[in-house]
């Protein structure tokens, strides 16, 4: 008979928790979101002996307070879902701080196994640990593990099974907080005693403790659960307790409580561990002397970012080109097999053209995520945030905002997902809202095309200026949002700088794959739908025989004059091409897309855009790459040998550099694409997504209007 139960993994950031989770589940993991919040939830399953074990990787937290979303998710999961066993992964080379979390888990009364991770470092430091004794203090079995070498994993499972099979004995509070605090706890407990039924999943002592710590979430919860009279009494009591404690001891209760906790941990460690004095400078410190040096830190950081871009964009070009070639071959073969008609057009122009455009991006996305995973797992990311904090602070943002903004130059979708590392909601939303202005890879083809046509010989500088304008827009909008919609200070900057570690291949791979897969899933499905919609818009209604001019007659005339020898071959070919083009343009103007273009033209007229540019810029909603392909369709639907130059020269003839530059600015400023907006909605909610769409579109329109109208005065 197979028994099923759930193990939740809890641990501080950098404790090696994720590595242990990977060891336990292999790569068969499922990544999702916790309902309502954007903290990733990773689950996996494992068959071990006679057990089917569900594994849940809870977010890394230092504590179980209400400080961050991660902490709340972890706490809520343990309290309300009641996993049968909790494995607390502890970095044994950094016991004191790691056991702070363990102690709080203990207070929550959960069945627990402690994984003493990185046991090899402990050994290397020659520290002697009396594990049995420590295990008595924390009332949980302790299993030494070495996550990155896959050691101790089965022992961990055995211990978890043993805990699962043992009926827990009656628990009592482990830690006495000293007379002053215990008195206040008692008072609150007395007030809540007869309400214990309605506070079921919690124990009263824990709630009382949290109230003394002024835990916002517990207060909110009680506000919803208890009657008004009790709440008022409770408020008075807590106010009194806190000021009483402050008067007597000079400290606020949360500090007193933390002191007692650390006191307990210190006592346990003193009893159970003989520490070899390991003074002296660690390797990490030596590396930090260079990497976060006051003078060299920033240049080194810029160099690392430059290498990142080189890897992603230069190295990434090769596989992208291979994919492109393969895709074209595939389309070619397909076009031979499938008879001409609507189905063929849908498959080749619509689906392969649209979805393929995203597919070919995947190698770059993968490379980007590999480099980021290496930077994260090695411990450098924390340093990067540290180095950037001063600059980011000046625009009212947090050092950590820098990473999503940087990724935004590649693709905005993973950038939005990366915004999750920001704990403060306002910081996160501002970062997401300005991420648009970091020119993503999809916009680059537009710049290359327009700068090449209208500013030949100077295109590099022109493209660079667009990037700069984007960054300036980001700074200004960040300031603006901070003053209007998201008031308040940026999150105070406190961050651990973990020791440097060599990333493992497996860890980096799993990290990269999780994110790439999310990208493929989210972007892929939406892009497929959008491609089909775009194809429909460009194809229907079909013009049939409703052409304004009689092209067949023109063709017949041309044919007869050519065969009669009245015109040259060149002239004949040219005329044929002209007719084909006129016909194609008419066909598009007749289609829904063409009608939309004409319909929105008045709105874009003040910016200098005619119906073609209007349509092209709006088609960028589907993805900025689409702008270029739409223009391609509009200006040279007929593919000839020199269609590329043909298309460029006809654009150069129709528009002036001012319009060209303005078009680039417009494309820069409005939101990246519909797929990114779907991700935005998932991360920040419908309201924020609508704000992003409305705000960036109006900004783009207003800025372009000013540029065009002002520019006209000079031309």
């Amino acid at each position: 008979m197979v028994k099923e139960f759930t193990i939740a993994l809890v641990g501080s950031p950098n404790s090696g928790k994720t590595t242990i989770f990977n060891d336990l589940t292999g790569s068969r993991q499922h990544v999702g979101n916790y309902p309502g919040v954007t903290v990733e939830q990773k689950t996996g399953r494992k068959k071990y002996k006679d057990y089917l074990i569900n594994l849940v990787d809870l977010p890394g937290t230092y504590s179980l307070t209400a400080y961050s979303m991660e902490e709340l998710v972890t706490r809520d999961y343990i309290i309300s879902r009641k996993p049968e066993v909790v494995i607390n992964v502890v970095d044994s080379s950094n016991l004191e701080r790691n056991l702070y979390l363990t102690e709080q888990l203990l207070e929550l009364d959960v069945p627990m196994v402690i994984a003493f991770n990185m046991a090899d470092i402990l050994e290397k430091n020659k520290d002697k640990v009396n594990i049995e004794l420590l295990s008595l203090f924390f009332r949980a079995p302790i299993v030494p593990t070495i996550g990155n070498k896959n050691k101790g994993i089965n022992d961990l499972l055995d211990a978890a099974i043993k805990v699962f099979e043992t009926i827990p004995d009656r628990k009592r509070p482990v830690i006495k907080y000293g007379e002053e605090i215990e008195n206040e706890i008692l008072r609150i407990e007395n007030l809540l005693k007869n309400k214990s039924d309605s506070l079921k999943p919690f124990n009263i002592r824990w709630i009382s403790l949290k109230l003394l710590e002024q835990d916002i979430e517990v207060l909110k919860y009680l506000g919803k659960t208890l009657d008004a009279k009790t709440i008022i009494n409770l408020q008075d009591l807590i106010k009194y307790s806190i000021s009483h404690l402050k008067n007597v001891t000079g400290y606020s209760p949360e500090i007193l409580i933390a002191q007692s906790r650390y006191g307990f941990i210190n006592g346990a460690i003193r009893e159970a561990i003989v520490k070899e004095d390991s003074s002296g400078i660690s390797i990490s410190d030596k590396v930090d002397k260079i990497l976060i040096n006051r003078i060299f830190g920033l240049p080194i950081f810029i160099l690392i970012m430059w290498i990142l871009f080189q890897i992603v964009f230069k190295l990434g070009d090769y596989p992208v080109n291979w994919l492109n070639t393969g895709l074209n071959k595939f389309a070619e073969i397909l076009s031979k097999v499938i008879p001409a008609g609507l189905l063929k057009s849908l498959l080749i122009d619509g689906i392969i053209g649209g979805v393929g455009g995203i597919l070919v991006f995947i190698p770059k996305i993968m490379l980007l995520f590999i480099v980021i995973a290496i930077l994260e797992d090695s411990g450098y990311m924390a340093r990067a945030a540290f180095i950037m904090d001063r600059l980011m602070h000046k625009i009212g943002l947090h050092g950590k905002s820098f990473v999503p903004l940087l990724i935004g130059f590649g693709c905005t979708i993973p950038a939005y997902m990366c915004g999750r590392t920001l704990e403060n909601k306002n910081d996160r939303l501002i970062t997401m809202h300005i991420n648009t202005f970091m020119s993503c890879g999809g916009r680059l083809p537009i710049y290359i095309l327009f700068a090449g046509i209208f500013f030949p010989g100077n295109s590099g500088n022109i493209i660079f200026s667009i990037y700069l304008i984007g960054m300036a827009a980001a700074v200004l909008v960040a300031k603006f949002l901070r003053l209007t919609r998201f008031k308040g200070e940026a999150e105070p900057f406190v961050m651990e700088l973990p020791p440097y570690r060599t990333p493992t291949f497996k860890g980096v791979f799993i990290h990269m794959w999780e994110r790439t897969w999310l990208y493929i899933k989210k972007a892929g499905t939406i892009i497929l739908a959008i491609s089909i919609i775009m194809w429909i818009l460009f194809t229907f209604p079909r013009i049939g025989d409703n052409y304004a001019k009689n092209y067949n007659e023109q063709l017949n005339n041309l044919n007869s004059s050519y065969y009669a020898g009245a015109i040259s071959k060149d002239y004949y070919n040219n005329e044929i091409l002209k007719i084909d083009k006129e016909k194609a343009i008419e066909k598009i103007e007749y289609s829904a897309a063409g009608r939309i273009g004409h319909f929105i033209e008045p709105a874009f007229k003040p910016l200098g855009f005619d119906w073609k540019l209007s349509l092209a810029s709006v088609s960028g909603i589907a993805g900025k790459e689409v702008v270029v392909s739409t223009l391609g369709t509009l200006f040279s639907i007929v593919k000839t040998g020199n269609s590329q130059s043909d298309f460029k020269s006809s654009m150069a003839k129709q528009y002036n550099p001012l319009i060209g530059y303005n078009f680039m600015i417009f494309s820069l400023l409005y939101f990246p694409c519909i797929a990114s907006m779907a991700v935005f909605r998932k991360e920040a909610g419908t309201k924020e997504m609508l704000f992003q769409i409305g705000f960036t579109f109006s900004l783009a329109w207003i800025v372009s209007l000013i540029i065009y109208q002002a520019g006209r005065l000079f031309i």
């Binding site: 209400a66 976060i292 961050m495």
Partner: protein
């Protein structure tokens, strides 16, 4: 919400501060490579909780590793290297030891 977390700031117990105030400075003014003792943390309750879970508790020793001009600083506390912004450092009060 029941009470404002900022109460802490106003209610720093004056008598304790006065006794030792001649030696107490804020972490933002600390010197490099020196050992200090944490005397007081005075953030709002949620920042305090964060600092406490990272090991910043009154009575604990702290060593400042580097100061970055008017920017952030790095310090060792409880065997961990932690980076702190100016604003946060200004809310931690320390006294010099030896």
């Amino acid at each position: 919400m029941l009470m404002s977390g900022n109460d802490n700031l106003k209610n720093i117990n004056d008598s304790t501060l006065n006794q030792i105030s001649d030696k107490i400075i804020s972490l933002a003014n600390a010197g490099r490579n020196k050992r200090y003792r944490i005397e007081k943390i005075s953030g709002c309750s949620s920042l305090n909780m964060r600092l406490l879970s990272l090991g910043f508790i009154p009575g604990e020793y702290i060593k400042v590793i580097d100061q970055y001009g008017k920017g952030p600083l790095t310090a060792y506390v409880k065997g961990n290297k932690v980076a702190l912004g100016r604003g946060v450092a200004g809310k931690i009060f320390i006294s010099e030891v030896d």
